[in-house]
Symmetry: C2
Subunit: 336 residues, 2 copies
């Protein structure tokens, strides 16, 4: 399995990206890494590690797409960037999957331009893993499409359901519409119309999923437009971070509270692990013709390694093939 | 100051409602309560308390609007309900303000029908207090209008800004659009167009407020459509509750962790108080012709007392008069 990795994307590139690649080579079976990026930086960083060199290939590039770049422009102009070159490797089938922790908009635009959409998919989406007390839910769309039509949400639900089955290994995953109440008829016009479309499919449709219940894993696939999806992701992160920092204040308030916190150290560590995004890899782009995974911008080595593991499962699960098969059927039902 | 209170609305009515009213009479200066509700239940409950009877007036009603009732229908048909009778007292100026912990949709519809809108306000909104690490932000709209136009968001911002000045006592409050990024041009069409309208006003416009930063109190007034606002409120509550219940697991895991938790008890109590909605009263309806406050459905006595205090500040701050004055000015600017 050959995975290309954007060596220059992300807050801690190339250092943590390379660390993750080496970890992947050393820990994951049957993996070969194609790292794109600037020669001098890569060579300098690689000196730190011991690894099987037959499993690592550097592809040197001269340009970098930053978070400040405008996505479409950047993809068109920076043809020798680590991101565009990585996408080309995937397009030319020199690799099986591609990972980037860089500019999300550029990765999405680049995937659309270079790889194209799966036939029958109107709008590709970003599918984010959403940690819950029951494990992981998949949130689609996490931010690719701010404005959506009901048909788009239906596609998100179908693609998400397939991904959860094939990559996360959950049979017959439940699919719910993120909403402000569970009763049919709640929410926006978009949700009401999408509700009707979902009812006509053979997806395991849960109906409306009250946003208050999302953190407890009420559904396996959370469907919403990209604006609401991004609000859900970022607010969850913001609330969790705020509470954690308030707790830190509690634990370090005085001598006695420090002792209390010390006693709790082990249990708290486990608790933090549950909320740690680095455990869950990245966010697959669903609906483009290729296995592309967006890693978190602030990914460390472990997060990159897990994103590589995830891309491998994405390819092995034949997610794209399955979406190709199923999308026709949904289309027929909704046109018929 | 005369405040009417819906004695039958809320999960713990009439018991906790009456408890809150008695607390208000005993603790808040210059307050008279008009409690609407079923005679036998009120009389039974009142036996428990010592209070100044000249400050308490029961207004007996025969019907109750439940959470299962359809708002518009309920308001039209249940004319002798505790909610409709309370709104009538306000309309007839027998009281200065009205509080209900009952059916939110019905309270909104009833306020619109019985009190009407402030001239120049297209869509009244629910303004919720949003607890942050810096104190309180005001979230408008918290759920009254699922679909909005830019003009609506502008009105929410103006009304919210006035409320925060006059009731929460904050000078020149900052007003931000809840969004998935801070750059101008981020988000939905609605937000982009609203951004332009806000820029033309003399409000203290912060620009886009990244939802991740809302829990840290990045702006004083959070403006959004009612769907997104309700998502923000409910998800914040859901994430906080989930983390608290996970923490409870950490604290009771074994003998040693119980000791650790016991040492931290005092600091944790303070921490919980910060996140306790009962401290903050209720959600004012902004844009209707009357000081109406929606208390949380699960309000206990303390929450009701704080909602009464809030309604008093709402009236004393002359919020409605100020909205009346300011709305014309905003209208002119945007039409001119």
């Amino acid at each position: 399995m050959k995975i290309a990795v954007d060596g220059m994307g992300g807050d801690h590139a190339p250092k943590e990206i390379i660390r993750g690649c080496i970890q992947a080579i050393n820990e994951i079976k049957d993996i070969e890494i194609f790292l794109t990026g600037q020669r001098d930086l890569i060579e300098e960083e690689l000196k730190k590690y011991q690894f099987d060199h037959t499993k690592f290939h550097a592809v040197y590039t001269s340009e970098v797409i930053t978070n400040e770049d405008k996505p479409v422009q950047a993809i068109r102009k920076k043809k020798d960037s680590s991101m565009v070159v990585g996408l080309n490797l995937l397009k030319e089938k020199k690799v099986d999957g591609f990972i980037s922790a860089g500019n999300t908009g550029a990765l999405l635009a680049g995937s659309l331009f270079r790889l194209g959409r799966i036939k029958g998919i109107d709008r590709p989406a970003i599918a984010a893993t959403y940690p819950t007390t029951k494990g992981i839910s998949l949130l689609v769309d996490a931010g690719a499409n701010a404005e959506c039509k009901p048909r788009n949400l239906l596609e998100f639900g179908l693609m998400g359901s397939i991904y959860v089955q094939k990559v996360l290994g959950k049979k017959d995953p439940s699919v719910g519409l993120a909403n402000i109440g569970i009763e049919e008829g709640k929410g926006t016009q978009l949700i009401k119309e999408s509700f009707e479309l979902f009812q006509k499919t053979d997806l395991n449709f849960h109906g409306n999923a009250e946003v208050r219940d999302l953190p407890t894993g009420i559904v396996d696939v959370i469907v919403c437009d990209g604006f609401v999806g991004n609000v859900i992701l970022k607010l969850t992160e913001g609330v969790a971070m705020t509470i954690m920092s308030m707790l830190k204040g509690v634990f370090t308030k005085n001598f006695m509270s420090k002792i209390g916190a010390m006693i709790l150290k082990g249990s708290l560590k486990e608790f933090k692990k549950n909320m740690d995004y680095t455990e869950y890899g990245g966010a697959p782009l669903l609906g483009v013709n290729g296995a592309v995974v967006k890693a978190h911008g602030s990914s460390n080595g472990k997060a990159i390694k897990n994103a590589i593991k995830q891309a491998k499962a994405f390819v092995e699960g034949e997610v794209l093939e399955k979406i190709n098969q199923e999308i026709g059927r949904i289309g027929d039902e909704n046109n018929g």
